[in-house]
C-alpha cells in the first residue's frame, strides 16, 4: 500500500499544498458516504506510489472542506482534478481505471 504517500488536503492547506506547489498536484474530491469514491481509493493510493516525487497526490473530503469544494464547483464525486501552476489542467469525473489517470498525468509531466 502506498497510502502513506497520499496527502490530506483541506480548506486551510489548499493554497500552500496545491495552488503554490512546485509539482503538479492530483486532488481526489471524496466523501465517506460515497461508494464509488471508496472504489476509487486504491487507484489513487497506487498513483501516489507510482508518481512519488513527480506529482503530489492527495484527497480532499468534501464534507469537511466546503470552501474548496464550492470554489471549484464540485457537485459530484468522485471528481479528480489535476492542478498545475495553480490551474486545473485535467479533470476526471467518476470512477476510472489507472491507465486513464496515467494518460492524463503523463501529458503534464
Amino acid at each position: 500500500m502506498a497510502s502513506d504517500k497520499v496527502i490530506t488536503f483541506t480548506d486551510d492547506n489548499f493554497d500552500t499544498s496545491v495552488l503554490q506547489a512546485g509539482t503538479p498536484v492530483l486532488v481526489d474530491f471524496w466523501a465517506e458516504w460515497c461508494g464509488p469514491c471508496r472504489a476509487l481509493g486504491p487507484t489513487i493510493d497506487a498513483l501516489a506510489g507510482d508518481y512519488a516525487g513527480r506529482v503530489s497526490v492527495g484527497k480532499l473530503n468534501v464534507d469537511e472542506n466546503p470552501g474548496v469544494t464550492v470554489k471549484y464547483m464540485v457537485r459530484g464525486i468522485p471528481t479528480v482534478m489535476l492542478f498545475k501552476g495553480g490551474q486545473v489542467v485535467e479533470q476526471i469525473v467518476g470512477v476510472a481505471d489507472k491507465a486513464e489517470f496515467k494518460k492524463a498525468l503523463d501529458k503534464h509531466l
Binding site: 458516504w33 460515497c34 461508494g35 464509488p36 472504489a39 464540485v74 457537485r75 464525486i77
Partner: protein, 322 residues
C-alpha cells in the same frame, strides 16, 4: 507479469458475478473475479433494497453486496480489482487482458452488468460533476436546499426523485410521456410527495451553463405543444435507463441491437465456454434477484461444460484394464 491460468474467470462483481463466484467456489473451481470499475455493481449506488427475499426489513444495497462478497470469498473465490481491456476467444484457453496482466481461462462468465445511460448532449458531458449526475446517493448532498431536476419516468427515476427530496428544496421530474413507466407503489409515493412536481411530455434540450462550469438551469421543450422554457435548477440527475457493458466483447459475441449479449439454453453465449448472466444479457427483468439467479445458472453451466471437456480422472479399475 506471467499469465495466470484459471478454470473459471468471472468479470463483474454485482449480484450476478458474486453469485456465480459463490457457486463456482463451492464446486471447488477456485474462480477468479475481476471486479470491474463499478465494483459491487448498481446496488452500490442504492439505499434500502426492499425486494431482495430474506430481508424482512430491507437491507442497504452496499451492505448486501459486502455480504455477497464475503460469502463468495469464504468458499475460496478470489476477487481482484481491475478492468478487462481485451478478450480473445479465438483460441483455447481464452485470453483476457487486465491492465498489464494476462489471464488464461477455460471458461468465462460475463457479469459486467449495465451502466447508467446519458442523454448525449454536449452540455451534459461538460457539466458532469458540476451539477449533472447519474448517482443520487453520491451527489444528493451537494444540493441541500436547492432546486433540482430528475430526468426519466421509470422506477429508478422516481426512487431517485424521492431520495433527493431529503436534500433539495424542490425536485422536478422531467418525463417524455404523459404517464410513468414506474411501478404503481413508486408512483403513489412520488406523486404524494409535496416536494416533487412533474413536467410531463417534456424533453431536455440543453443544460445550462457550460461557460459557468456549473448547472444553473435546463432548457425544456414540451413535445405536445412545442413550447420551450428554461427551468432554474442547480442540479440534474439523469435516470433514463441503462446500457449494457459489452463494448469489450463487440464482434466476438452475438448481441442484440441494444448491445445486450444473447444467451441460449440457460446462460450460453455464441461462443462455447463463455457464459453470461445478469443485466448484461437481460433488459427485461433487471432485478438483483434475477441477476443472482442467472449467476447461479452460469456457474452451473460452466461447471458442466468443464466436466464435458475434461475427461474424468482415470480410476484404478480403468488403469488396471489398460
Amino acid at each position: 507479469m506471467a499469465a495466470q491460468r484459471r478454470e473459471v474467470t468471472i468479470i463483474g462483481s454485482g449480484p450476478a458475478g458474486l453469485t456465480a463466484a459463490l457457486y463456482s467456489a463451492r464446486a471447488n473451481l477456485k474462480p477468479l473475479v475481476i471486479e470491474g470499475l463499478e465494483a459491487g455493481g448498481q446496488l452500490m449506488l442504492t439505499t434500502a433494497v426492499e425486494n431482495f427475499p430474506g430481508f424482512r426489513d430491507g437491507i442497504m444495497g452496499p451492505d448486501l453486496m459486502a455480504a455477497m462478497r464475503e460469502q463468495a470469498e469464504r468458499f475460496g473465490a478470489e476477487i481482484v480489482r481491475g478492468h478487462v481491456h481485451a478478450v480473445d476467444f479465438s483460441s483455447r484457453p481464452f485470453v483476457l487482458t487486465v491492465g498489464d496482466d494476462r489471464i488464461e481461462t477455460q471458461t468465462l462468465i460475463i457479469a459486467t452488468g449495465a451502466s447508467a445511460k446519458l442523454l448525449g448532449l454536449p452540455s451534459e458531458r461538460a457539466l458532469m460533476g458540476h451539477g449533472v449526475s447519474t448517482c443520487a446517493t453520491c451527489d444528493g448532498f451537494f444540493f441541500r436546499g436547492k432546486p433540482i431536476a430528475v430526468v426519466g419516468g421509470g422506477d429508478s427515476a422516481l426512487e431517485e426523485a424521492i431520495f433527493l427530496t431529503r436534500f433539495a428544496s424542490q425536485v422536478t421530474l422531467v418525463h417524455r410521456r404523459d404517464a410513468f413507466r414506474a411501478s404503481k407503489i413508486m408512483q403513489d409515493k412520488a406523486l404524494a410527495n409535496p416536494k416533487i412536481v412533474v413536467e410531463w411530455n417534456s424533453e431536455v434540450l440543453e443544460m445550462l451553463d457550460p461557460a459557468a462550469s456549473a448547472v444553473n438551469g435546463i432548457v425544456l421543450r414540451n413535445l405536445k405543444t412545442g413550447v420551450q422554457k428554461t427551468l432554474a435548477v442547480d442540479g440534474v440527475f439523469v435516470a433514463i435507463g441503462h446500457t449494457p457493458n459489452t463494448s469489450v466483447f463487440k464482434g466476438q459475441l452475438a448481441a442484440d441491437a441494444g448491445g445486450y449479449l444473447i444467451t441460449h439454453d440457460g446462460s450460453r453465449t455464441s461462443v462455447e465456454g463463455v457464459f453470461a448472466c445478469g443485466d448484461v444479457q437481460d433488459h427485461v427483468y433487471r432485478q438483483a434477484i434475477t441477476a443472482a439467479g442467472s449467476g447461479c445458472m452460469a456457474a452451473l453451466d460452466a461447471e458442466r461444460y468443464l466436466e464435458s471437456i475434461q475427461p474424468p480422472p482415470i480410476t484404478e479399475a480403468a488403469s488396471a484394464a489398460s
